[in-house]
Amino acid sequence: MIPEIGHFALVLALVLVLIQSFFPLVGAQKGIASWVAIAKPVARLQLLFTAIAFACLTWSFLESDFSVLYVASNSNTSLPILYKVSGVWGAHEGSLLFWALTLSVWTTAVTLFGRSIPPVMMARVLSILGLLSVGFLMFMLFTSNPFERLVPPPLEGKDLNPLLQDPGLALHPPLLYMGYVGFAVPFAFAIAAMLGGRLDAAWARWSRPWTQVAWVSLTLGIALGSWWAYYELGWGGWWFWDPVENASFMPWLAGTALMHSLAVTEKRGAFKAWTVLLAIFAFSLSLLGMFLVRSGVLTSVHAFASDPARGMFILVFLVAVVGGSLALYAVRASKVRSYVRFDLVSKESALLLNNVILVVACAAVLLGTLYPLLLDALDMGKISVGPPYFNAVFIPLTAPLVVLMGIGAMARWKRDSLKNLWPKVRVSLVASVVFGVLYPVVVMQKFDWLAAIGMVLAFWVFFTTLKVTRDQARGRGLGGLSLSHWGMAFGHIGLAVFIVGITLTSVYSTEKDLRLDVGQSHEMGGYQFLFKGATHLQGPNYSGDRGEVVITREGEQIAVLHPEKRNYRSGMPMTEAGIDAGLTRDLFVALGEPLGSEGAWSVRLYHKPYVRWIWLGSLIMSLGGLLSMADKRYRVRARRTAMDKAAVGATV
């Protein structure tokens, strides 16, 4: 009964979004006030029904209702409650439902927080978001219904993929989806503004906080995924340039460009057409990511759906969204030309170059991701593009961007000169070169060119950000700085921390696969790893072996690690690494296989300096995004416009 309620609620939600996408849009174009007015209530009602559907599916999971096919394939009675809940979005159908729910939540949030937005604009925005919901709900109802029944129901369900039975993974997909779907909001604003023919600073101001919140979710989602891959997959890596990782990274790059370009559009009225295009790109890349992941064209952990009908539907949806919005852009873009002048040396130029580099880097990632698919489709052979391609292209492209960050943050709007900038950056430049070169020598005790370059870049961002903050605070104190300045500062310093992490981890990590007998030890990075043997292990839905490795440094015990090798009841084996985490280094032990009969094992050992800084940096960046989102100018203007409107209403 409950699953049928959920199914029915989904159908009702589809009917509602059809209303939400049609009437307000036509009403806005034709000037029919009552059609415009229904946008908000319908959007909220839609959220109610999608939420009911979601609740029904969650209930089916909690009650282990195996007559629902999706529950039977992804849950069983011995699964802990946390994973029963996260199982709701653990596979294809449920994650689509989660996606649709997130879209309705964002839509409703726009109706709640966008009080300053004129009703006609609001109607357009909501109907664009409604059209996207139509696509998702139809996709779900026609090709991937999560409430499909299984007759006769099995007594016990299968297992949730053991890789996904992890607290980090319970949160990773929701954050990613919030990010992906979040870019639908600036997209809808851009389309609505083009339809209305009004692209002004107000439009950019409405879009900015939404872009930032999407960007923050995406940043956290990607960081969490990277962290999970690091400790759960047992390979000790943090980024593999896997097509699915790229699928989330491309919208992130486009979104980062969009965030910066929106800043220029809001403050200076420049780059309007470009900003609109970026908003289209960011969301299109999110959809492309979904297509790559869900259509089964990729060889990957994530490609759990491989049904051609689904792939076809998403492809058509993707073409409709991208094609439709670009066609509209082609017709309307000439009208949104910006008539704002700025010099070659100015903050605008720096931000423009930032955008160019980010978009080009994004295109290079896109090429590397799609090239194998393209060749295969043309029957020109099966190839794979490995991580070396991405490293060789991405790193040299983005290093100049980091140099530019320091200058861009320093430069004045509209007009600046190298003569004026030089004294401001001089000290930072010298300091970053000195510290950057000394750090590998003094702290890491081994000089390496790549490490030095990375550290110089990181210190450069750090010092220039400090300098800008000090200059800005002159006369008003640190407390007088706006939250959006702090947002910039944290965002950039987060990137500096991130660069420290990737540089030092990449250069100074040591990894070794080796055979260890019971009682044998191995020295790595100044640490002694002593293998004490492995014992049998019995968990709730798995059994396996549990090793014990004692780590000492200069005779002093640092940690005792217990790496595990599990065999889940579903028959799937899993490696649980033992990790001793630290601010300046991680020690990582994973079990391979038993060798011989004397209790020896093949073991993988890692010493990874500064690997935590990668995720720490991402956290600081996200904090920056949150701070600038909370800037009071979004709130004050919202309130003032609302008051103006009330005043206008009173006189009418």
Binding site: S384, A392, L514
Partner: protein, 153 residues
Amino acid sequence: MKARHKRLGFLLVGLVVLGAASWLVFNALGNNLSYFFSPTEVAENKVPADHVFRLGGLVQPGSVERGEELTVRFEVTDNAHTVKVAYTGILPDLFKEGQGVIAQGRMGPDGVFVADEVLAKHDENYMSPEVADALEKGHQKGIADMAKGNKPL
């Protein structure tokens, strides 16, 4: 600065970025592509002698030899031909006899494929499209060979 000079400046900067990017992309693509081959293609000598490639198929049941040391030897088959593979290191969790596998590496002089990376499928029901395709072709070739009177391997 005149408007014309300014435009020229912007254009130049844009061209430099694009040029640098294209150079990087083509350079990196040329060096880092690896093609996929099936055991049949290896038997027909279609594989590059001095370049890394990916070999895919099923792990031949009963072929996995684990010694006292880290090196593992096994055979990859597409049911028409098999190729011997040697790999030193820890195999992925889902590596199993009779299951799909992709190994990246190069051919050694003795006809043994020396893998520096081994990928196994990620879940029970999933097979990489490349491996599925190779098996399908191997299957058809086996039938064709039988029709010609050749003994299948």
